[in-house]
């Protein structure tokens, strides 16, 4: 007895559909009832939202393809201008029924043209008495296109006077979309996150042909036990499952354990999965490197991740420039006297500072400083005399291109440019250590 009931479609199709979309039955059945029969007019627009990999795209694609409904599927990230988007829709529409796979190129600049061409195309394709579905994936990109795109798509049915439904797929809620003018509220549908049980069911669904379903389900159980707390992304979990499965099978292949010896298998795989969580999941090392390690049966310890190479070698004065920039960013300008003059006297921290300066500057983040202050600090922290040569100035610019400093505000060089230092405390301490400069002594926060 199928869950879905619909007079329009044969029972076999519906059964097949059900098997294709596990854990999304309720959403699919409500979509089916919204769509109605082929010739029925449906909602002008439907808005579907839910987290990453909650099956929005997959469900829509399967639904439309299994029921053989005329549809167009467009990814808005890929079509980054409105022109590309509209042309892509028309091209796909052309190839809906005709034999040639790649429809000829249709120039289409504005939404107005689109509406006209769309109407024409419906007639030539003989689709008047069916609902045509346009699915816009990653619809949040629409907000960055021209202002008329989103309202236009919302009212496409009204403007073309054709039987068309536009479906938006997005990861964010409708409230963040709602345009100011010409908005027609779509029907919104929420795809909730998969629960752990759902994930278990979906992941075990496609088990490798060599092994039994139970064996693979046990493996998925262990995998979820490790990864569920950090990652609920179905795609990522499936990827990780595929990466580590050979390791899980190892005892079975070697004949040390049989498929039911769950405890032994668990012992074998658990530490391995934990290591995977720290390395390959964070993309510290690539998945192909991970597979190579598995094959060689080596320890992943010798392979350093990306973050291990944090050290940056800089020229001597660049180091001091960076240190000076850091000091300028994190010390209040009024304390410069205290740090860089010889006879500064004692300044009590409590009386000296205004109220807002009492909070740690490191919690507040770097503050902008003018070029002159940077140079003044540089001259006082470098032991020997520094001439303000062209090289020093170009070093500041190259620090900006390396993203270690950032230029704040307008880039009018005559008007005293301002910079911010963007490196972390650990980084600057490592730099300072190489030039024997005790930076902690010069930081107001650590006084």
């Amino acid at each position: 007895m199928p869950n879905f009931e619909h007079p329009e479609y044969p029972e076999a199709t519906l059964l097949h559909l059900e098997s294709m979309v596990p854990c999304r039955e309720s959403q699919v059945s409500s979509l089916l009832s919204i769509f109605g029969e082929r010739q029925h007019f449906s909602f002008p627009s439907i808005f579907i939202y839910g987290h990453t990999s909650s099956g929005k795209t997959y469900v829509m694609q399967t639904l439309l393809e299994t029921l053989e409904l005329p549809h167009v599927f467009v990814n808005c990230v890929e079509c980054f201008t409105s022109r590309l988007l509209l042309e892509e829709i028309l091209t796909q529409l052309q190839s809906l029924s005709s034999e040639n796979k790649h429809g000829s190129h249709v120039p289409c600049d504005t939404f107005n043209d689109f509406v006209r061409l769309f109407k024409q195309e419906i007639i030539t394709q003989d689709l008047q008495n069916q609902t045509v579905y346009i699915v816009l994936d990653k619809a949040e990109q629409l907000r960055e296109m021209e202002a008329n795109m989103l309202p236009g798509f919302l009212r496409l049915q009204e403007m073309t006077d054709r039987n068309v439904t536009v479906i938006f797929l997005s990861e964010i809620v409708w409230e963040l979309f709602r345009p100011n003018t010409g908005c027609l509220e779509p029907f919104t549908l929420y795809f909730p996150d998969y629960s752990i049980g759902n994930l278990q069911k979906i992941l075990s669904h496609y088990h490798p042909p060599e092994y039994s379903a139970d064996f693979y389900a046990a493996y998925i159980n262990i995998l979820l036990g490790v990864f569920y707390t950090v990652c609920r992304d179905l795609k990522e979990l499936r990827h990780l499952a595929a990466l580590n499965f050979t390791k899980y099978c190892e005892p079975v292949v070697r004949g040390e354990a049989n498929e039911r010896d769950t405890r032994r298998l668990w012992k074998n795989i658990e530490s391995h999965l934990k290591k995977a969580m720290q390395t390959v999941y964070l993309r510290e090392i690539s998945s192909s490197q991970w597979e190579r390690i598995q094959q060689d049966d080596g320890e992943p310890g010798h392979l350093k991740g990306l973050s291990a190479h944090a050290h940056v070698e800089l020229p001597y004065y660049s180091k001091f420039l960076l240190i000076a920039a850091y000091l300028a960013s994190y010390n209040p300008a009024r304390t410069d006297k205290r740090f860089f003059l010889k006879h500064h006297g004692k300044i009590k921290k409590t009386n000296f500072l205004k109220k807002h300066e009492k909070t740690s500057n490191h919690l507040l983040g770097p503050k902008p400083f003018p070029l002159d202050r940077l140079l003044a600090i540089l001259y006082s922290i470098v032991d020997n005399k520094v001439a303000p040569t062209a090289n020093i100035f170009s070093q500041i610019t190259s620090l900006v291109t390396l993203q270690l400093l950032t230029l704040v505000g307008h880039d009018d060089q005559l008007d005293g440019p301002k910079y911010k230092c963007t490196v972390s405390l650990d980084f600057i301490r490592a730099i300072a250590r190489t030039v024997n400069f005790d930076i902690i002594k010069y930081l107001y926060d650590f006084l």
């Binding site: 990306l306 190479h309 800089l314 001439a387 390396l402």
Partner: protein, 716 residues
Amino acid sequence: MSTSSVSKGCFVFKPSSKKRRISSSTADYFSEGKNDSEDSGLRFATCQLLWKQINSETEKIQEELNKQLFDNLISFLRQSYSEFQTKKTEWMCRMKSSEIPTAALVLGVNVTDHDVTFKSLSEVLQDNVTPYVVSLQAKECPGIKHLLQKLMGQLMDCCVDVDSFEEEECVNISQKKIRCSMASLSKWYESVTKKTGSETPSKKITSSSRHWQSPPIVVIFKDMESFTTKVLQDFIVISSQHIHEFPLVLIFGIATSPMIIHRLLPHSVSSLLCIELFQSLSCKEHLATVIDKLLLTTQFPFKLSEKVLQVLINIFLYHDFSVQNFIKGFQLSVVEHFYSQPLSVLCCQLLEAKKRVNSLSHNQCENIRSLPSFRRYVESQVSEKQIALLTEDSFLKEVTQTLLEDLHIYHENYFTVLRCLHVFTTSLPKYPLGKQIRELHCACLGKSVWETEEYGSTVQLLRMLAKDELVAILQKCVEIFISSSGKQFSNTVEKLEEFLARFQNLEIAETNEVQDVSVLSQKELQKKTDLYHLQKTLLELKESKRSKKLTKFEMLRFEVVDFIDSLVRSYLAPAEMQTLNEVVYFNTANTLREHLNAAPRIALHTALNNPYCYLKNQTLKSDVGCISNTAPDICIVYKLHLECGRLINLVDWLEAFSTVVTAVEGTDPDSVATDQVDEIIHARFIRAVSELELLGFIKPSKQKTDHVARLTWGGC
């Protein structure tokens, strides 16, 4: 241009061939203002030839250094490519998300060097792997649209040079450039690969021998740090959807650290990549190799003096870490040397130089005589020879030839002994003479190294070396001497080998001796039972150890160190002491510093503060403190503004300006009485102030009316 025609009209003038003109003009610079007796033409030719040799040598060095890195990259490409071709099992391939293979190439902060590396990288890839190599720069790609445009443009171009048959097709595609989406790119790839597949067999063979079948598209992001997050993210997301249609490989050029990838890309995007790390050779090692191959060799006659080398190395270490700039600086010193030193005509290979000596003009002979090192040499000769040297050109030429030969031999010995000494100094704690050979080289070039304090401590430390260390070092030295070209070191090698043999003999003798001593002392200790005697014997033992006469090993060690010391003293004499060193050594470090490490602020300050420095007008010569009224207006305004605070009152400033300017015109009672500033002076003042504003010294301020804000501080 004029014509002989009387009528008005358009006339066509064919341009005279430009190429000849340019080459002659550079040569002309050399002879400018000097008569040809100083061989300017020959000097120019020598300079060109020498630089050509040096340049090809540097290119060779670079190629060798990059080879390892490029090989690794190519094997990475091959691997990821093979994965694209043969997915393992069907199940695995369906379950695994397909990641874009990505090479993170960490190149170091010397951004100026990267261009050369990327250029040779794409050449290597184009030669061996794939014709489809695209390199992108951040400033060309402010948006995803521009990025794709650039990408497709470069791809279509390289498709053209693969075979000319497709040219028409390509033009068609590139005409509708506006429609550049990933979809059309994958369509293009399909059509291109299909075509090469169905081509004539002969063509197929040639293409497949060079490139792999269905070659990957390699996209190089030259400066990863400067790309905006959005562009990168979009590009990666889009291309990950098409990864099944064509093999794409990304190369990220990273200047700082690979952490930048995580900073630029969120996890959802970086999870689409399969990132592997590649690290290039550090620039310091690169420099060490360049110095070793260019400077510490007798291959090139041209040499740098200590100060010049120090300037170049300082710019490298303190400012830019750029090997390219170092080589450019080296080139500048070559040109400068041949340009400014007339005798540089002799700065070529020894045989050639000897020939050239014979054809020197009288003027050049006088030049030789005026060289300080030659004068020193003359003074050390007997009086008849002195006269002959100073009067007879032919005799001078003869002597010059032998002196040049001496100089050549000096260099040969110098580098060998330098390397030998370097082996010794690198084994010492704290490296008193520097860790790198370039530091040692600088120390030896400048002054007599054996007179320095550091050398003293080095020798002292050498006298404390352990035996196995010493033996290892001596063996290395023997290798260096044997591989050197100089034949005069056969004696030295013999001597060193003798030392080694003696060390070996010592080994046996010493073990026996040590045993004896220990056994003896043990016995004595056992005998003494009461405390007083025990103490006494222990003290005696200690004393005897301190004043014990040297063991055989220690004696030998002293001998070895003395021998090395004698080598240093005889061969590592500073270059300045050598006669005729001016011919091959470039030593005007100041010129080089001015050119390479310019100080624009100081120059501007000098120009405004002391205009005489540039204008050379006698009336401008003045004391430091006072303001001369003959100076240009801007100088007066500048000097007055130096005395002001952060905000400058324009009225006061004008007042002061007019006082200074009218001081010459004497005491004109009328103007003083009316207290009115002359209109012309007012206009001059306004103009000078706006010039200062243009130079960035002041800017208008909104804080106070009629005030301008000062932008610079300090003496310069």
